[in-house]
């Protein structure tokens, strides 16, 4: 009788392992669908990333080049004396330049009638540039010198097709006829495009001089700010997390702290900005527009992020490691610093870099404490000055440019974004290298 009842289970027809039954089919289909969703999501993500990258590069690339006129000329001591004896000295220098330019064009077989005003419109105050140069380098008098003068931003935009001849209205900035001269100079190779170092190394310029605007000073501002954020938020954040996670008793009070930290992470950054304005500038009288204050504000903003991610990575360390350390007679602190923290380090670094990246891109709080773009007028002279002298930061600088009326600043804003992303990438790469280091120690 037992035999019979046992066998009922075996009565079902034997089926090959190679034929899928209905349940397996359904499960496999679900798995395939899930994979397809995943791949679709990634594809969409990649598509938008590509669109973003292309549009940033397309719009920002012009910021890295500029149009220059290269003219070689020799100024004799007699020329200098003659020019200095005149009432309009810079005008005399400009005449020397125009003569040299004329010669260069004639050598190339082109004859043009110059309107000296056109040179001023196209190339700016050529005369004073030359005069300053010779006063600074008297040794160059009488020797051939190659002057490379940046053309007005309208010329850039005319050459890359953004500005057409028809769109130009005759004004003190540019006449339609100036474009003939531009065309000639381009044809003869006197005018050409070159890499715009000023954009990388320079500081912000006035609203009427987009050609002279550079992001360098605000890169330095951002750098000092990130230094403040890193030096303050990493140790404070990690120490706070270790205390909360490993040492603090579990009670109402620590629960309250925990909830508050989570909430702080969600507070809009502009709130931190106004807090910084009230506390650091109005109450503590720290200097306005200083990267130090910017760094302090961004530290407040970054701390919750670092604390949350550090606590998560401390929690992820298996408790058996702590038991093992305590079991051989290590103190709590030894177990944390010798065993738990090294294992949590990759996670802590990831959190830190996310926090820093957020801080690097933050604009709103900086505007409130006066780190607007146009204060970035020069480089700090020295480390202390780097922290306390008025400066801007990259995102604030980009914002300032984007808000300016002159359309030439628009491409500067895009170019600034490229520099900002490059800065971010460098930071991430350093973090990844550090993380590899720690991971290799198992």
């Amino acid at each position: 009788m037992t035999n019979a009842s046992l066998n009922t289970g075996g009565e079902a027809p034997k089926r090959s392992l190679r034929a899928q039954d209905a349940l397996t089919k359904r499960r496999n289909a679900a798995e395939r669908r899930f994979k397809a969703y995943g791949m679709a999501a990634i594809a969409v993500g990649l598509f938008f990333l590509a669109v973003l990258a292309v549009s940033i590069v397309r719009s920002g690339a012009p910021a890295f080049t500029r149009t220059v006129v290269e003219v070689e000329l020799t100024v004799s001591p007699a020329d200098i004396d003659a020019a200095e004896s005149q009432l309009f000295k810079t005008k005399a220098y400009q005449d020397l330049f125009v003569a040299a330019l004329d010669r260069q064009l004639t050598n190339n077989g082109v004859e043009v009638a110059f309107d000296p005003k056109a040179i001023e419109r196209l190339l700016g105050k050529v005369g004073s540039t030359m005069r300053e140069f010779y006063q600074a380098n008297p040794a160059k008098v009488g020797k051939p010198v190659k002057f490379e003068l940046a053309a007005a931003s309208r010329v850039d935009r005319y050459l890359n097709g953004e500005l057409t001849r028809d769109a130009i209205q005759d004004s003190r900035f540019m006449m339609k006829t100036d474009l003939d001269l531009v065309d000639v100079m381009v044809d003869t190779g006197v005018m050409k495009s070159s890499f715009n170092w000023t954009f990388i190394t320079g500081a912000d310029s006035g609203v009427d001089n987009p050609g002279g605007a550079g992001i360098g000073a605000s890169v330095v501002g951002s750098f000092f700010m990130m230094l403040v954020v890193l030096v303050l938020s990493l140790p404070i954040g990690v120490a706070a997390s270790i205390y909360l996670e490993e040492f603090a008793p579990q009670n109402r009070f620590t629960d309250l702290i925990e909830v508050n930290i989570s909430n702080l992470a969600a507070v809009p950054s502009i709130v931190f900005g106004i807090l910084g304005l009230a506390v650091f500038i109005q109450f503590m009288h720290l200097p306005q527009s200083a990267p130090l204050v910017g760094g302090l504000v961004l530290t407040l903003m970054t701390l919750p992020t670092i604390i949350i991610s550090t606590r998560a990575s401390l929690k992820a360390v298996p408790p058996s490691i702590r038991d093992a350390a305590l079991g051989v007679g290590a103190s709590k602190m030894q177990s944390v610093f010798h065993h738990v923290l090294p294992l949590a380090m990759p996670g802590i670094l990831t959190g830190t870099i996310i926090g820093l990246a957020q801080a690097l891109g933050e604009t709103a709080p900086l505007l409130l404490i006066g780190m607007v773009g146009f204060v970035a007028r020069g480089y700090p002279d020295g480390v202390v000055s780097g922290f306390v002298d008025p400066n801007s930061a990259m995102p604030a600088q980009i914002y300032t440019w984007a808000a300016r009326a002159d359309a030439s600043f628009y491409e500067k804003a895009w170019g600034g974004i490229i520099v900002l992303l490059a800065f971010l990438l460098t930071m991430n790469i350093i973090a990844i290298i550090l993380r590899r280091r720690f991971e290799r120690r198992w």
């Binding site: 058996s320 079991g327 051989v328």
Partner: protein, 255 residues
Amino acid sequence: MDQKDIKFRCHGVQVYYGDTHAIKDVDVDIEDKTVTAFIGPSGCGKSTFLRCLNRMNDTIASCRVEGDIRLDDEDIYHRDVDPVQLRAKVGMVFQKPNPFPKSIYDNVAYGPKIHGLAKNKAGLDEIVEKSLRRAALWDEVKDRLDTPGTGLSGGQQQRLCIARAVATEPEVLLMDEPCSALDPIATAQVEELIDELKQRFSVVIVTHSMQQAARVSQKTAFFHLGNLVEYDDTNSIFTNPQDPRTESYITGRIG
């Protein structure tokens, strides 16, 4: 039979995990230079009781220990006792192998290092080699001391943990199922080590193997549902159990 000193004197020990009463009023005296085996069905509280002896239960927030546990006549739960100092004296091998994610060498050297047991590198090397030999692991790992301890097999990891525990020269060694992942040869080696350790120390071992308890221990305690049912010489427990529950457990009828 000669009378031995009492190492641990436990009286009226109660352990609670929150509302769960895991150890109920246990009295037990653990002798010095003796191997004591804790046996009993799974979940009866052997590990819990063992962890009371070096205050590892302090690390579990919900765990509460009551009663009196004395090591060499000092209350180990006294306010002035530093559990860290206690754990240096009372070493432990855990039920699940838990090597540090560091090199084999560092695993063993860590305890001696933080306790300042070696004066120099050579001294430390010596301790590491001796400990690994005692744990019957030396021959397998002597050529790869700088590879991660977590890369060893389960049984090797457990022996590494044993080496780590003996490296600090504890006065009492608590072993929670040290041989559950070991093959018969390694088991024999660990049992040999236990035998050697008992010349100087007191060893408490939790085991699910009756044969092992009978082979290595002089005293056996049988736990059941948080109660200490019977505690006597190993011989008497296995040949002449007083309690019917003990008898049915060792003959394989409950568990």
